[in-house]
Amino acid sequence: MSGRKTRGERVIRVRGLVNRFGAETVHDGLDLDVFRGEALGVVGGSGSGKSVLLRTIIGLNRPEKGTVEVFGEDVYRISERERHELEKRWGVLFQDGALFSSLTVAENVAVPLVEHLRLPEPLIAEIVAFKIRLARLPADAATKFPAQLSGGMRKRAGLARALALDPEILFLDEPTSGLDPIAASELDSLIRDLKSSLGLSVFLVTHDLDSLFAICDRIAVLVDKRVRVGTLDEVSRDDHPWTHSYFHGPRGRAAELQKAQIG
């Protein structure tokens, strides 16, 4: 598989990753690179360790073996302070938004700004209002609590919070799961627009073929405890049974057809 063309700076570099839970090995010698400005989609069956991979990269799950580097820093070997600096440069959208339930949407978005930067309060309010609008949430959502929002609005609010500090990498854990197709494709186009205008690198974990087609430059398929990486064309020609049935099953064909009609 390709993936070795010159693409500029590596923002994420994973080498020899091994993750084990009890007797079960989830990743075994996994290597992965993400380059600046690209969107990498990670797909794989349920339980293949997609979310574990994401959690490992952002430092929430210490791997048994292997190294994880983000911006050239080993996530598990740097000091607390360096971690802090690193965390300012990425934003994470968790599966259900992971908004703080005791804070309003506006307060949620303000948390990273208040924590990491010394900004005057009116400016924080302006930036927050701006991000909320950027995530295409209605203005009256700002004063609502997460429990009062629909699933799609929670994800948008989570996205607004992930974007609060203008990160260089955006991690997305199944951003479209649980959304209706219209909301899902809106979110896809929002992410794609943000990626191109902000120059974000995107690490996207998904099941959603439409998201893959809409957003991703390269695709990593998690099979047999490792990833096979390539462009959409390369990966969909891969003859691994899981990959084949994923891309050429009824849903894969439908998404491809749609893509062909649009593009």
């Binding site: 911006f71 050239g72 820093e73 740097i78 302070r81 360096e82 600096e85 690193l86 440069r89 339930s101 005791s102 506006a106 700004l113 930067l117 010394r118 900004l119 005057p120 400016l123 309010a125 302006e126 930036i127 927050v128 209002a129 701006f130 991000k131 909320i132 609008r133 950027l134 295409r136 203005a139 009256d140 700002a142 004063t143 609590f145 997460p146 429990a147 974007l163 500090l165 203008d166 627009d193 943000l194 191109s196 205008s197 902000l198 120059g199």
Partner: protein, 387 residues
């Protein structure tokens, strides 16, 4: 800090200048316009005396990095200039950042404002708050009475069809609420016995009536403290667990699933807990009484020199036939209060995880409050009955 990170953070400083040339103002922005320096930029922009009614050129050609916060500051400045009646020409932005600015312009066609949280005058807000709390309290009371009725109806139908009772669940709950609570109830009662015996004997010694410490223990622990302590421990231990368990099931929609499968959550979840506590609380009380007396006799033997035999014979004199029963008879009532409140508050959980914590706290407070109120009511009742 490593050099790589430092380089990213300390990119070149932002620049900003306002000059005038040939009757036009030039506002030149350069360097890094990013969120890291947004505070500085904000301050400098607000100190700038912007022209009015002129033609202004917003020259962005020297900007080499831009993010949404910086872009927002640019947009805000541009708008402020337009508001002052200037003709504004924005130029020179590197094509790299053009899509960013375009998208942000689209996103903020109207100036974004956060809606204010509603605020009322202090007095009105205070009164409104009292009113809200009163209504909420009344609503809770009504809800609880309704729940009591629902449970009673389910209980009656279980009496007619006893085979529908979940025996396994009930016995599992008995183990949880009863057997597993033995150590903590026993230890605390033992210590309470020691404390009462010590404090009592200290006072009674002045009259040379140390032996009446035994009477004090017998009446104090058997009539009141044994059952009250047990109820309070169980409210904290099992009542809270009921709320948390049922509340979590609400959050994960398990209660809804029960409904759709045709199972009655009251029958499946509430009845086993209620029955289990109904049986175990009196038994735990009996155990607490025993341990309390044991603690008292332990201290009497050590500190007062009353040997166990003398303690026993004095105890026999101190006890009336009713002493033990007056304590024990309250236990089933307390059990019902704790189980009902624990389960009721569990069902009040909305779909947010946060409400589980809030209602668990509430259920413990309410249960202890009502247990003590009922205990006081029992005291009045027994006083009237003269027992």
């Amino acid at each position: 800090m490593s050099t790589k990170l430092k380089a990213a953070v300390a990119a070149d400083a932002p620049r900003l200048s306002l000059t005038e040339k040939d009757g036009a103002s030039f506002l030149c922005a350069g360097g890094a316009w990013t969120v890291n320096v947004a505070a500085e930029l904000d301050g400098r922009l607000s100190r700038l005396s912007l022209p009015s009614g002129e033609s202004v050129v917003l020259d962005l050609s020297a900007i080499d990095s831009l993010d949404t916060a910086g872009a927002w500051l640019l947009l805000r400045t541009e708008r402020a200039l337009l508001r002052r009646g200037n003709r504004v020409e924005t130029r020179g932005l590197s094509p790299v950042f053009a899509p960013l600015l375009a998208q942000l312009r689209a996103a903020s066609a109207q100036a974004p404002v956060l809606p204010e949280r509603e605020g009322a005058p202090a007095v009105a807000a205070f009164l409104a708050r009292i009113g809200e709390m009163t209504l909420a309290l009344l609503g809770r009371g009504l809800g609880m009475i309704g729940f009591l009725g629902l449970v009673a109806a389910t209980g009656l139908s279980l009496l007619r069809h006893p085979r529908r009772l979940r025996l396994t669940a009930t016995i599992a709950q008995m183990e949880q609420t009863g057997v597993n609570a033995l150590p903590i109830v026993g230890l605390l009662s033992f210590l309470i016995g020691i404390v009462i015996a010590y404090q009592g004997s200290d006072q009674l010694r002045r009259f040379g009536a140390e032996i009446y410490t035994v009477n004090l223990l017998a009446v104090g622990i058997l009539r009141e403290l044994g059952v009250l302590m047990t109820a309070i421990i169980i409210a904290g231990r099992s009542g809270s667990a009921f709320t948390a368990q049922i509340g979590t099931m609400r959050v994960t929609q398990e209660i809804d699933a029960l409904h759709t499968i045709g199972l009655d959550p009251i029958e499946v979840l509430v009845m086993p807990r209620l029955l289990a506590l109904f049986v175990t609380l009196p038994l735990l009380t009996l155990f607490a009484d025993f341990m309390g007396l044991l603690g008292g006799s332990f201290l009497s033997a050590i500190a007062l020199g009353i040997p166990a035999q003398e303690f026993m014979s004095q105890l026999r004199l101190a006890l009336s036939p009713w002493t033990l029963w007056i304590g024990l008879i309250k236990a089933p009532f307390f059990a019902v209060i704790i189980a009902l409140i624990g389960c009721y508050e569990g069902f009040q959980v909305s779909r947010s995880a946060e409400s589980v914590g809030r209602l668990t706290t509430l259920s413990v407070v309410e249960a202890i409050f009502l247990v003590i109120v009922l205990d006081a009511a029992f005291s009045v009742l027994f006083a009237v009955l003269k027992i």
